[in-house]
Symmetry: C2
Subunit: 66 residues, 2 copies
Amino acid sequence: MKNRIKVGRAERDLSQADLAERIGVSRQTINSIETGRYVPSTILALKLAQVFEKPVEELFQLDETD
Amino acid sequence: MKNRIKVGRAERDLSQADLAERIGVSRQTINSIETGRYVPSTILALKLAQVFEKPVEELFQLDETD
DNA sequence: ACTATTTGTAAAGCTAACTTTACTTTTGGT
DNA sequence: ACCAAAAGTAAAGTTAGCTTTACAAATAGT
């Protein structure tokens, strides 16, 4: 799984902490997703898509390992 | 989280077992998602979206409890 | 009515998602 | 160089996703 959360965050000028607060998760959760330590739940993915006003498919992309 | 997997499956005339096999999960996983016992990972959501050729947002919708 | 397929569900077990706390490293501004 | 904010990371604990096995209930075809 690749993701473009860091980019989305940069576009909106949000810190990891800002974003975490907006969607109701811990900052480490955002960090861990960005750095690929784990894949979010669909609920989180949909919330991120809402914040960035982008489709989930644009934010998250499957790779060979998935 | 609401989802429209049962509908997508009906459109393509796939059994839960068929669908499960196509995306590489157990039949119970599909059943559990359909019956709302749990929410899939983003990886699974993207794969389901691929099979049904529909955006994730169309297949999965947040509700108040999320 | 009989049989086969599909669906629903449950229990036990494993792994991954997520939390909190806490510390280090990096980046940016002055 | 100094300080503050942001980002990275780690450990321990809890919960949720997913597996396998197994069985019961519902649906469909003949």
